[in-house]
């Protein structure tokens, strides 16, 4: 029997490492495995995905996983993101593990045929690691649900994190974080649907340049990308303190600040990436940070 797992995260959260940890852990348990990431042309904060397959028999499938048995979603803002579309193709009877503080019932109301498990990994990671790096946490959640043994899993966490060059101290903290997550959940018996092995051809829509999609003569059209969903924290201006000195405006790398007709600086939350340069540079400490998605 084969399990196909797809991880969705944002660049920098550790999706690729999670897929490696899970693959390695399953291998330690005696399975064959594959793991690999997909990179778009984007960076820290942008949606990324990574895949793990493991099986007690040979694995003859190759390529991206379009019909996963389990998806691991590292950031609940990805659910609304059409670039990520994390639940796409999730098999009937499959399972989605979502890092969120929202109740599970609200996440995927129209998929009664799949199990949704929620866990606040970001909260746990901030507490235990001091930063929102989630690779070992999401790998732990998926490994537990998939029934990977604890010993094999913890060895994989330590091995993989050492290999990416983490200090012994961080490896130890990550192992503790992973153990805590592993302990929170219970294994599931998944009975996912078998899919017909013959693939159907999908007709592609005809795209006419300039109609429905931007063409090469378009300029200055990147705002539709909505990089605002890269943020973990949002900057908030206290206008009672702000003296309109424009320093934050000058140093925003994103042009995500503009000056209104009233001479006041405004933040475009659709695209502000939350780098917090404005907060650091404001001489009057008029900018504070507020957590997105229930973070403090």
């Amino acid at each position: 029997m084969m399990l196909r797992v797809r991880f969705h995260g944002r660049g920098g959260q550790g999706a690729k490492t999670a897929s490696r940890i899970l693959g390695d852990a399953a291998f330690n348990d005696g399975f064959n495995d594959q793991d690999f990431p997909i990179y778009g042309a984007e960076r820290r904060g942008a949606p990324v995905a990574a895949f793990t397959r493991f099986s007690d028999g040979d694995i003859t499938e190759r390529g991206f996983i379009f019909s996963p048995d389990i998806v691991g979603v590292m950031d609940d803002s990805l659910i609304e993101d059409p670039l990520a579309n994390p639940f796409a193709g999730l098999r009937k009877g499959g399972c989605a593990v979502v890092n969120t503080t929202k109740p599970s019932g609200t996440l995927l109301p129209d998929r009664k045929d799949a199990k949704i498990i929620t866990i606040d990994l970001t909260g746990m990671a901030l507490k235990m690691l001091g930063k929102p790096i989630l690779s070992s946490g999401i790998a732990a959640a998926v490994a537990r649900v998939a029934g990977v043994s604890e010993g094999s899993f913890l060895k994989a966490v330590a091995d993989e994190l050492r290999e990416v060059g983490l200090s012994e101290e961080m490896v130890k903290k990550n192992v503790e974080f992973a153990m805590a997550v592993y302990g929170e959940l219970a294994p599931l018996t998944l009975r996912t649907e078998e899919l017909p092995s013959k693939l159907e051809l999908v007709p592609l829509a005809v795209v006419v340049s300039g109609e429905g999609m931007e063409d090469v003569t378009q300029t200055g059209n990147s705002a539709v990308r909505h990089t605002g969903n890269w943020r973990t924290y949002r900057p908030v201006i206290d206008y009672r303190r702000c003296t309109d000195c424009m320093i934050c405006y000058a140093y925003c790398p994103e042009s995500a600040m503009s000056v209104g007709e009233d001479g006041r600086v405004r933040i475009d939350y659709e695209n502000c990436k939350g780098c917090m340069i404005c907060l650091t540079e404001c001489p009057l400490k008029a900018i504070s940070q507020s957590g997105e998605r229930g973070l403090q």
Partner: protein
């Protein structure tokens, strides 16, 4: 020599934006900030000619954050591309097919990989031909787009993908950063300047000054790279500031070969204050402090400023060598 400038404080930064939000660079990237500010001074009529690097991804079809024009070239050949654009504009104007009001400024934008290494010869060629263009290198001191491999711009003591600290070589990169400013100056580029985003007014003035000069105008911007250097994006500007205050990144310009430092720190902050804030130098402090390497860095900064001060007649208090 004081020339009239429209930039006295940061408030004078033009409010016109030519970069729309939603680009794909990392949060806190110094490189894209440099492009944003540079563009503000140049105004709307610009064609950017790009060599492969992080910035290549900023403009990825079908979405572009630039309100101006953008051309990709091969890694090695952005200045050659710029020559083609400049010539085309000149020919069209000479034939009366393009009104002078539609003339454009041609700007090469590259990372240090193309500027210091792979595209070095084509820049040299353009300088030799006195091509009338701007050249902006956002220098993040390694190949950031492919995972931070060492370039000729990587400083001494920095870790990179290709110069990891090892038992045999615990300090990382053993080469010194190449002095591209001096190389360009030696080729008689009429204007060469270093920039730091953290010193916005100095930055604005230098781009403005370039506009009064015909021929190659070469700029190296010290572009903080949170992803490659390993620091929190919120500190991008602070790190650039520290690089200037420690004397590691001198702000200067050369007009027809005559060098003038435009920001002179009275007394240098110790380089340690800059180094300890970045993961790429962490191995110089943990698990054991690499005193020798840190001393080498401090001494080279101190001696740089002693020599520059003697030439230009200013005095900079060196930082203590420990």
């Amino acid at each position: 020599m004081a020339t009239a400038t429209r930039f006295r404080t940061l408030k004078d930064m033009p409010s016109d934006e030519y970069l729309t939000p939603g680009n794909t660079m990392c949060a806190g990237c110094g490189g894209i900030l440099a492009v944003r500010i540079f563009h503000k001074v140049l105004g709307p009529n610009v064609t950017w000619v790009n060599a492969a690097g992080c910035m290549t991804i900023a403009v990825s079809y079908p979405l572009s954050p630039l309100k101006s024009n953008w051309i990709y070239t091969a890694f090695a050949s952005a200045p050659a591309g710029a020559q083609g654009v400049r010539d085309a504009l000149d020919v069209l104007m000479a034939k009366g097919k393009l009104p002078a009001s539609e003339d454009m400024k041609v700007v090469v934008v590259t990372g240090d990989g193309a500027a210091y290494d792979i595209g070095f010869q084509s820049a040299a060629g353009a300088i030799d031909r006195r091509l009338d263009f701007y050249y902006l290198c956002y220098d993040n001191e390694a190949y950031g787009n492919t995972g931070f491999q060492m370039s000729s711009s990587t400083p001494f003591g920095s870790a990179s993908k290709t110069t990891p600290p090892t038992a045999a070589n615990p300090i990382g990169n053993t080469h010194r950063k190449m002095d591209l400013f001096e190389v360009w100056r030696a080729q008689n580029a009429p204007y060469v300047a270093t920039l730091s985003n953290s010193h916005g007014v100095d930055f604005l003035k230098k781009v403005e000054k370039g506009g009064t000069i015909r021929g190659p105008k070469m700029y190296i911007d010290f572009a903080a790279c949170p992803t490659g250097w390993g620091f929190d994006p919120k500190d991008s500007i602070e790190l650039e500031k520290l690089a200037v205050q420690t004397g590691i990144w001198p702000l200067k310009e050369s007009v027809d070969g005559v060098v003038r430092h435009t920001v002179v720190p009275r007394s240098l902050l110790p380089v340690k204050e800059y180094l300890t804030k970045q993961e790429r130098f962490a191995h110089l402090f943990e698990p054991t402090e690499r005193t020798e390497a840190i001393r080498t860095i401090q001494e080279s900064v101190n001696s740089y400023w002693a020599v520059a001060g003697a030439k230009e007649g200013f005095a900079v208090k060196a930082a203590e060598v420990t």
